[in-house]
């Protein structure tokens, strides 16, 4: 059952989904001490229900869980909402990581992790959703436009559902449309960390974003890869 910790008026709400009860308890206490409000549930189905009930700012979810594993839960959450999701993966298991990101996770953290690292990742994710909300107005380029204030992305005026991370990537590319944005910059600004050799997270997020944006009228991609340099949002 969902277990809630003390409430702060402005606290960000974290939904913690993990079948390790003791770990959840300790993490909840720690996050609470860092000023988060935490809801913990212990299986995938309960995670989906709690995430879709709303009032959650960010979800932290393990992959190996009874009843429903983290991947299936993530798939179901993504059907209904774009709430940021941080997946907890097994260390060194690249497949888990890529599958999670492809299903629309915003980031992953290999287990075991230090509590400080978890907080840093959560803050990075929340910062992405917060910072841009101060802005108003629209940025448009061709068929695509974004509203940083409401975190929404439109194609030909129709809203396109994107995750928080995909939105930040789209925003970075759109703001420098026609110019190459390096992978390093995108990783630092959209994922909040340094790009390392085997970090394919950005590529996976980029593939998801491209799929959602579709192609230009002539069938060419809207975002092009510039080998060895980065990505560019093509202007016409």
């Amino acid at each position: 059952m969902a277990h809630e910790t003390d409430k702060h008026p402005d606290a960000r709400r974290v939904l913690l989904v993990d079948d390790d009860l003791q770990l959840c308890q300790m993490l909840a206490e720690y996050l609470n001490g860092e000023g988060f409000e935490v809801v913990t549930v212990h299986d995938g189905q309960a995670g989906v229900d709690a995430a879709n009930a709303g009032h959650v700012d960010v979800v932290v979810m393990d992959i190996t869980m009874p009843v429903m594993d983290g991947f299936e839960a993530l798939r179901r959450i993504r059907k209904a909402s774009d709430v940021p999701v941080l997946m907890l993966t097994a260390r060194g298991d690249e497949v888990d990581r890529i599958v999670g990101l492809e299903l629309g996770a915003d980031d992953y953290l290999p287990k075991p992790f230090s509590s400080r690292e978890l907080v840093a990742r959560l803050r990075a994710i929340l910062r992405r959703t917060q910072v841009s909300s101060k802005e108003t107005g629209r940025i448009a380029e061709g068929q695509i436009s974004i509203e940083p204030g409401s975190q929404s992305l439109f194609r030909n005026g129709e809203p396109v559902p994107v995750t928080a991370t995909e939105f930040v990537i789209a925003e970075l590319l759109l703001r420098s449309a026609g110019k190459v944005v390096s992978k390093e910059e995108l990783t630092e600004k959209a994922l909040g960390r340094r790009l390392t050799v085997y970090d394919r997270s950005l590529d996976t997020h980029m593939a998801n974003l491209r799929k959602k944006l579709g192609t230009a009228d002539d069938g060419s991609p809207l975002i092009k890869t510039v080998r060895g340099q980065g990505y560019i949002f093509v202007t016409h």
């Binding site: 720690y30 097994a90 075991p112 509590s115």
Partner: protein, 452 residues
């Protein structure tokens, strides 16, 4: 494979051809005269008697008498068939003459051109009958017409027989060779797939359903492959479980450390750092043991063209970042792009482990070079200015958990398996890895990869 195929094909074919040649040769040399003798001497003897009777009939009653004698004779005794040709060139009983007989000179021997009559004595098939006034009749036993027609007796036709023999036997041998080697090819394909990591590969029912030894072998092979797949499957599951079960307590440990840190202020920071560091070491060791186990139990190798200069450059860059915090530097030199077909993530792991090991043991600096070899390939040299090793241990340092510096001191913890992983990963990329002490002191590891 193809070699066996051709070997079977050629040897069977040669044996058939040799057998035929020997048979023919022995026949013609040893038995030909004797057989011909028996057959034709009988014919000659009977023709001798018959021609004497015919001569008598001709002498007594002329051509009509001869004709009557012939008719009676053929009615009573149809064999051997007899023809009698009068001086006008007509057969007495108006029977058709064998082709070519009209061109016959009185003493010519048109039949059985190659018969023994060309060789010895009088023809066994033809006799001349003379009347008192010098008219000449011929009495003859017509030759047997060859079944394939006269054409088959011509020399160019006779040359065709060996050719047909060679082609027919060649075709049969090809089929035989294919029949024998096709199953072997299937075994080989299945074996290679399994070795390459596709544990689901089987020889398959097309061979296993055969009723012969190949069928039995295929059934056994597939059963063996089932067993291997099952064993490796359960081992992998075990590895995943072990990984999960060992790491869950570590995750809780780290969460607990986080809580203590939060509640206790900064008094215990140094000790908590130590706990976190040890937990991290333990976690890394678990990861290393698991990846070693994965490498030992059939890791799949995915070869792609990789520029080693770039790969090593990236590893050095990351390691430099790590080394700088301990005031240790790395010098990196690389030639131009060295592109080889390797599994990038395996080689990354191998080189990274060696580089990190070098930094850990170096005093001040580590040198990494990438250079092309004389034969197509690349040598990666990683040398440090540390204490080096006991030369006797040059091989053993690649064994898991072997850690000892030349001065006898125990090396840093957590280092015990990195080089073992490196060796396994290099071997999976068909390369070699060697360790030695540098002449001017320090420890050198050389990784050589050949272009294939």
């Amino acid at each position: 494979m193809t070699r066996l195929y051709w070997r079977i094909f050629i040897s069977f074919w040669l044996v058939i051809i040799m057998t035929v040649i020997v048979t023919v040769a022995v026949n013609s040399i040893a038995f030909r005269d004797e057989m011909a003798n028996t057959r034709f001497s009988a014919l000659r003897d009977s023709l001798e008697i018959l021609s004497r009777q015919a001569q008598q009939a001709l002498n007594e009653e002329g051509e009509d008498g001869l004709r009557d004698w012939l008719r009676v004779r053929q009615e009573q005794q149809p064999f051997p068939p007899l023809l009698i040709i009068n001086p006008a060139g007509e057969e007495l009983l108006q029977r058709p003459l064998p082709a070519g007989l009209d061109r016959l000179r009185p003493d010519a021997r048109p039949f059985n051109r190659n018969g023994p009559n060309t060789r010895r004595g009088r023809s066994p098939r033809i006799r001349r009958l003379e009347t008192a006034d010098g008219q000449s009749y011929r009495i003859l036993v017509p030759g047997f017409r060859p079944r394939l027609g006269r054409w088959s007796l011509r020399p160019e036709a006779r040359a065709l027989f060996p050719l047909i023999l060679v082609l027919l036997s060649g075709g049969a041998c090809l089929l035989l060779a294919r029949y024998l080697t096709r199953p072997i090819q299937a075994f080989r394909a299945a074996g290679q797939s399994i070795a390459a990591g596709d544990l689901g590969a089987r020889v398959g029912p097309s061979i296993a359903q055969r009723k012969d030894e190949f069928g039995a072998l295929a059934t056994d092979f597939d059963r063996m492959a089932d067993r291997i797949e099952e064993l490796l499957g359960s081992q992998r599951q075990l590895l995943r479980d072990v990984s999960h079960e060992l790491r869950s307590p570590l995750a809780r440990l780290q969460a607990a450390v986080g809580l203590i840190r939060q509640k206790s202020g900064d008094q215990a920071d140094a000790h908590l750092d130590r706990i976190e560091q040890e937990a991290e070491n333990l976690n890394e060791l678990i990861g290393q043991i698991l990846s070693m186990a994965r490498l030992e139990t059939g890791a799949s190798v995915d070869r792609q063209p990789v520029d080693l200069s770039r790969l090593v450059g990236e590893i050095v860059e990351d390691a430099r970042y790590e080394g700088e915090s301990h005031q240790k530097s790395i010098a990196f030199t690389a030639g131009e792009a060295c592109v080889l077909q390797i599994d990038e993530s395996l080689m990354h792991k191998a080189i990274e482990n060696v580089v990190r090991n070098a930094i850990r043991h170096s005093r001040e600096c580590t040198e990494v070079t990438v250079e092309p070899l004389p034969e197509p390939g690349v040598r990666i040299t990683i040398s440090d200015d540390g204490p080096g090793i006991d030369p006797a241990d040059a091989e053993r340092i690649f064994e898991p958990f072997f850690t000892r510096a030349a001065d006898g001191s125990k090396a840093h913890s957590g280092a015990g398996i990195g080089l073992a992983i490196a060796r396994r990963a290099v071997e999976l990329n068909a390369g070699s890895i060697k360790a030695r002490n540098a002449a001017e002191g320090g420890f050198v590891v050389e990784i050589e990869l050949l272009k294939r």
